[in-house]
């Protein structure tokens, strides 16, 4: 069930929220677990069975590992291998076989939705228990809720166990958090359905045929993925707030970063920190020789690429960004450029990297990159029309990657809190109605052939 679907917004969410407030406190957690399982089952019950098995295995295996005095390491390795193998099996097995043996038809294996996220969540728990950073959970309900909690189940953020545990026994109703949660949910929903989906439709209607065309395409890639993912994360964090949970931010205006390394400290923060804590630092981190640093970064970034997808373009994407970060750390760290130049340059590099992220077809990648340097063909009529037609979307899209609107809101709130609240509520409800109209419109498919 996607957060931006009708079934979630106009059936699941209102009903689940109302019942949550009506039931006694001591069964709230078990209630959240049940609705989370229902939420996940809505994609397919088979997937739910897999996730239940994984949860049961990890619960008992980690308990056992925690109790061991010797040979903990072997148990750790066993648990890691089983989890990583499960992920790789669903994620890569079919694609690799299919590429190796073109002529044999294999039964397609579909990756259960959210598996990349929940396996990484589990791995962080396993390693934290091994490192004695946290105790193993003895309550199966609590552990299952940690894995299944529906706001973060499908697309993160990847929450660490000790952050979750703290709130598990202590998430009383909090009016301001509740209001804030819905506010975030609406903002996230409109980022997704009004902006990201519009950018996505523009992109699918246009094939680069000039330099300006390619520039617009890469800017739209940046905007689309930002509004898509940050929008989804806003919804996820907002939903968590509604039920009294508070997790760390996953995005921090990444498009304003002054270097690629900074970008990834502000973009999908929970994944970046996961790679930092469980791969980069164990490999030696920053405090090594320059050669070793370059190797470590390469490993981290190639795995990051592979985590995003099984096809070759994600590996190129990871390798491309990894190389830029190596160059930044080894060569550019001592040179100072004006801030605005750094920001624009970073935005350009990141935008170019999305070309690899979005296209698994080599011809498309070359076409876009070639046109980016095509000084013979600066503009084409189609892209001029697209810009004119969507100018408002583009301007709003570019403004909202910065905190300008948020700061204006804060300014007025300081001046007059009551008026601000009234205005803000009206604005958010209007945004919610507008988002509803966009959601319905995508399903509005006039089938008018027979009138011709």
């Amino acid at each position: 069930m996607a957060f931006n679907s009708i079934v979630f917004c106009f059936l699941f969410l209102p009903i689940v929220t109302i019942i949550y407030f009506l039931i006694p406190k001591k069964i709230k957690n078990i209630y959240l677990l049940i609705v989370s399982i229902l939420f996940y089952s809505y994609s397919s019950i088979f997937n739910t069975c897999i996730l239940l098995l994984i949860t049961i295995y990890n619960f008992f295996a980690v308990r056992k590992m925690d109790k061991l005095v010797t040979n903990r390491k072997y148990k750790l390795i066993e648990i890691l291998i089983i989890n990583i193998f499960t992920l790789c099996y669903f994620k890569y097995y079919y694609i690799i076989l299919n590429n190796l043996f073109n002529d044999i038809a294999f039964k397609e294996i579909i990756l259960p939705i959210g598996m990349s996220f929940y396996i990484f969540t589990i791995l962080s728990y396993v390693i934290d228990v091994y490192r004695r950073k946290t105790n193993s959970e003895s309550n199966f309900i609590s552990f299952s809720l940690y894995i299944f909690f529906f706001p973060k189940l499908i697309m993160g953020p990847i929450v660490r166990y000790h952050d979750f545990k703290e709130q598990l026994d202590n998430h009383d109703f909090n009016n301001s958090l509740f209001n804030y949660g819905f506010k975030r949910f609406i903002i996230g929903l409109s980022m997704k359905v009004i902006l990201a989906d519009t950018f996505s439709r523009i992109l699918s209607s246009y094939e680069s045929s000039s330099m300006l065309g390619s520039i617009i395409i890469i800017i739209l890639y940046s905007l689309q993925i930002y509004y898509d993912f940050a929008g989804y994360t806003n919804m996820a964090l907002g939903l968590s707030n509604i039920f009294g949970f508070k997790f760390k931010e996953n995005f921090n205006y990444p498009c304003l970063s002054k270097s690629v390394s900074e970008f990834f400290r502000r973009w999908h923060i929970s994944l970046g920190e996961w790679f930092r804590d469980y791969i980069y630092i164990p490999l030696g981190g920053n405090r090594t020789s320059k050669l070793r640093l370059a190797i470590n970064l390469s490993i981290v970034w190639i795995i990051t690429g592979m985590w995003h997808g099984a096809s070759f373009n994600f590996i190129i994407w990871g390798a491309f960004l990894g190389s830029i970060i190596i160059i930044e750390k080894l060569l550019l760290s001592k040179i100072k450029f004006p801030k605005i130049i750094c920001m624009l340059f970073t935005f350009a590099i990141i935008s170019i990297s999305w070309v690899f992220f979005f296209n698994s077809n080599l011809n498309n990648i070359t076409l876009i990159l070639k046109n980016l340097l095509n000084t013979n063909h600066l503009v084409d009529n189609q892209i001029i029309f697209i810009i004119k037609n969507n100018i408002t979307y583009l301007i709003v899209g570019l403004i909202c990657i910065t905190p300008i609107i948020k700061n204006i809101g804060k300014f007025f709130q300081k001046k007059t809190n009551f008026l601000y609240n009234c205005f803000n509520s009206a604005y958010l409800i209007a945004l919610m109605c507008l988002s509803t109209s966009y959601m319905i419109s995508y399903s509005y498919q006039a089938f008018l052939y027979f009138n011709f």
């Binding site: 009708i6 106009f10 397919s44 088979f46 209001n179 958010l428 109209s437 319905i440 009138n451």
Partner: protein, 369 residues
């Protein structure tokens, strides 16, 4: 958290709940007039479709299709997007004076090659008959400048016509309609041209002068397909008919049925959701019209719905007119041509359908001669 005195959470929850209850209590619809399609009904759950998730996909579709007042929501989005400056939504441009203009269909090389080959085959097959092609431009071919584009449709027309002998295309409809572009030759809300435009085409094709017509207004509140596609209801059209004062008498049959009709107009459709069906009661696979015209020619008219408003003007020119729509007619037309002793064949299409629909190719490829 700075939302202490805010009430947005409760407002939003109320909004979601209200819509939830309206959806639950509003009756299920089986058909959407605006979208002209059957709406999804409630799916039935079983072990297999629950396991693989297909049930939930169908259930989503059902909720979407049965959402309260879908049309109003779509309309809200269209109007909002028009306000923020969009000139084109889906494949429809906003022209001047609320004229809704559908994008031109651009055929690909494969389509063109197949079509040109089939037409050549057809001409060779029936070289003793008189064959004409009438291609009517769409709104985009006449009002292209209102959407700031080049006249792609005219280019497509000229490129296509260049493949054949000149006499295959007896009239250039771009020129005819361009001469009348300030009159009501297209509906604002629909993709069809009007009866007035069809009249101009017929007058030019048959070199008719000084024909007198009676004008009737059939429906003043016509919302056509273009408006329904994007749910933009700013201005309704009126459907006007021009009936020649001196008309031949005729009768007609539909779909090879026995029942005979004495009028090509179906009055029952006058105030229906799609009043354009006043012509022949909508699209039919085959229509046979017999007249008492002095002219003994027998016409086979292969057409789309643009011909519907054209036929009233040509009744006096033929003794018999057989009209087929290849999208619904699947028999071998060779038999039809022989049995009915056809003397003239006319292909009558609007450009967008002509360059998109492949049933014409299927029909020609099915001829066993």
């Amino acid at each position: 958290m700075e939302e202490k005195t805010s009430f947005i959470g409760w407002l939003t929850l109320l909004y979601l709940l209200v819509i939830f209850f309206i959806n639950v209590f509003s009756p299920s619809l089986s058909f959407s007039n605006e979208e002209n399609r059957t709406l999804a009904s409630k799916p039935k759950i079983n072990f297999n479709n629950a396991m693989d998730g297909n049930y939930f996909t169908s259930y989503n579709k059902y909720l979407e299709d049965q959402f309260w007042n879908r049309n109003m929501w779509k309309s809200l989005k269209t109007n909002f997007e028009k306000e923020i400056g969009l000139k084109k939504i889906d494949n429809i441009y906003f022209g001047e004076n609320n004229r809704l203009i559908e994008e031109a269909v651009v055929p690909n090389a494969y389509f063109l090659e197949r079509r040109v080959g089939n037409i050549n085959k057809f001409i060779d097959n029936y070289n003793e008959l008189n064959i004409d092609f009438i291609l009517i431009p769409n709104k985009i071919g006449i009002y292209y400048n209102e959407v700031g584009a080049n006249n792609i449709q005219k280019d497509i027309y000229h490129d296509f016509v260049a493949h054949f002998a000149d006499d295959l295309f007896p009239i250039n409809c771009f020129d005819i309609l361009n001469n009348h572009k300030n009159e009501n030759i297209f509906y604002n809300t629909d993709h069809h041209y009007t009866s007035l435009a069809a009249r101009y085409i017929s007058e030019s094709l048959y070199d008719k002068k000084d024909v007198e017509y009676d004008k009737y207004i059939v429906n003043n509140n016509f919302i056509g397909t273009s408006a329904n596609k994007i749910a933009y209801y700013n201005k309704a059209d009126s459907i006007e008919l021009y009936i020649p004062k001196e008309e031949v008498s005729y009768y007609l049959t539909y779909n090879d049925e026995e029942k005979e009709y004495t009028s090509i107009y179906d009055d029952s459709k006058q105030y229906s959701y799609n009043p354009y069906e006043i012509f022949f009661g909508g699209n039919k696979s085959i229509i046979d019209i017999r007249t008492n015209s002095e002219n003994e020619n027998k016409l086979l008219l292969i057409k789309d719905s643009y011909a519907n408003s054209f036929i009233p003007y040509i009744l006096s020119n033929y003794r018999e007119i057989i009209i087929i729509d290849p999208r619904y007619y699947y028999d071998d037309i060779n038999n039809l041509i022989a049995d009915k002793q056809i003397t003239d064949i006319m292909f009558f299409y609007n450009m967008n359908t002509f360059f998109e629909d492949t049933s014409l190719d299927d029909m020609i490829e099915n001829i066993k001669a």
